[in-house]
């Protein structure tokens, strides 16, 4: 196929080739790639198209249809604020404001240093402990606007410690 110059890292190719060449495995490939890279690199999508033998435009359509995937790298700390109904009526919108005050990013954005990114999600099924926020895999329950600052400052502390020790 013309126009492809970037070499795909071997590990990503392995993730893709672990599945049979059948379009029904595309979603699974994308999920594994998203977990591995924190986003879907273009070269990986092109590799999927080659492996499954469908047009690149179709792979791209799938990657943009499903919200679980990101086409740009997410932050090292990816913050998901739940805006399911239970969280919404317990003022999840305030959490978004508070995060903006603390790290100046809005949903869909990544901080310039690449450390934080933010998105809102529609219900993670932890409604009984609303409002909830998820950072990477960790769930924070009954988050208050004051509590959110503690969490972010805690992460910043970790980042600084790591920077010092390395």
């Amino acid at each position: 196929m013309p126009g492809i110059t970037v070499q795909l890292p071997e590990e990503l190719e392995r993730i893709i080739r672990a599945y049979p060449s059948d379009k029904r495995y595309i979603l699974a490939m994308m999920q594994d790639l998203q977990k591995q890279c924190n986003y879907l690199p273009r070269e990986a999508l092109e590799e999927i198209a080659r492996h499954v033998e469908i047009p690149f435009s179709k792979v791209y359509a799938l990657a943009t249809f499903y919200k679980a995937f990101s086409l740009v790298p997410r932050g090292k700390y990816h913050i998901k604020v739940c805006d399911g109904t239970a969280c919404h009526i317990k003022s999840s919108a305030v959490l978004i404001d508070q995060i903006f005050n603390a790290i100046a990013i809005r949903p869909g954005e990544t901080s310039p240093d690449g450390m934080f990114s933010l998105e809102t999600v529609n219900c993670i099924g932890a409604c009984a402990i609303a409002p909830v926020m998820v950072i990477n895999e960790k769930v924070y329950s009954k988050v208050s606007s004051a509590g959110i600052l503690d969490v972010i400052n805690g992460i910043r502390g970790d980042i600084n410690d790591n920077a010092k020790s390395s």
């Binding site: 196929m1 013309p2 999508l45 047009p55 690149f56 435009s57 179709k58 791209y60 943009t64 249809f65």
Partner: protein
């Protein structure tokens, strides 16, 4: 099988859609996302009709509804007319820039309302261009995103490596939404420029070089004289026949 549409008995074949059967019988049902050479999509919902199946009435999209023995169909009722008016209104508000939608908005007598118009937009997301590109082009475009963000695009909105610049998408678009410009032998479509082939006889530009290469590779038997435009090709054939007959 026999079905009744607007009181008239018509013939239908098992497996075909209601819209197909009605069109064949000369009965008009309005559509925007339907193209006779493509499968019905059920997107625009303008072709909604009322089906009475043994007393059970249902409003269905005729372009995807498979005909059933003995159904009675009404193509226009107050409910259906209102649905169509609202659909036209919604598409007009979405794609106010499309001359077709402006005209239909008038034709259907849609009432003015306070909903915002979108003069910059022409696309009505009928998906005909995408389907045509799959069939005749090279699947360079697709419907990306979802919900209100949905749109037709090439991957990453960049010039697609596979696009052959055939312009089929622009030709089939009912809304005039796909921009294709041609100037001094260069065609630009979907952010990609194509050098056009000039006809060796009349000198007019008739196809992109990529399209000719694509067609030659796909169906060599159709490309008899690939350096001629379609008009000249026909003319040449006619001349050959004339020579043959006179001999």
């Amino acid at each position: 099988m026999k079905i009744i549409v607007d009181g008239k008995e018509i013939d239908a074949v098992l497996g075909e859609t209601l819209l197909g059967a009605a069109r064949r019988a000369g009965i008009h049902i309005p559509t925007l996302c339907y193209h006779e050479s493509l499968e019905g999509q059920g997107r625009c919902r303008l072709c909604m009709v009322e089906v009475n199946e043994g007393g059970r009435k249902e409003v269905v999209a005729s372009c995807t509804y498979p005909v059933k023995e003995g159904i009675e169909v009404t193509t226009s009722t107050p409910v259906i007319d209102k649905i169509r008016r609202n659909i036209i209104m919604l598409l007009y508000k979405r794609a106010t820039g499309s001359p077709v939608m402006r005209q239909l908005f008038q034709e259907y007598g849609c009432p003015q309302n306070s909903l915002q118009e979108n003069p910059e937009e022409r696309c009505i997301l009928c998906n005909i261009c995408v389907r045509a590109c799959e069939e005749l082009g090279s699947s360079a475009i697709s419907l990306i995103m979802r919900g209100t963000q949905k749109r037709v695009a090439t991957p990453y909105d960049e010039a697609a490596a596979v696009c052959i610049g055939c312009g089929t998408c622009a030709r089939v678009c009912p809304a005039g939404a796909i921009e294709m410009t041609e100037k001094e032998g260069i065609r630009v479509i979907w952010n990609k420029a194509f050098a056009m082939q000039a006809c060796s006889r009349c000198g007019s530009y008739y196809a992109s070089r990529e399209e000719i290469a694509h067609l030659t590779a796909r169906k060599p038997e159709y490309v008899i004289q690939s350096d001629l435009c379609e008009d000249c090709r026909k003319r040449m054939m006619a001349e050959k026949i004339a020579v043959f007959v006179s001999e």
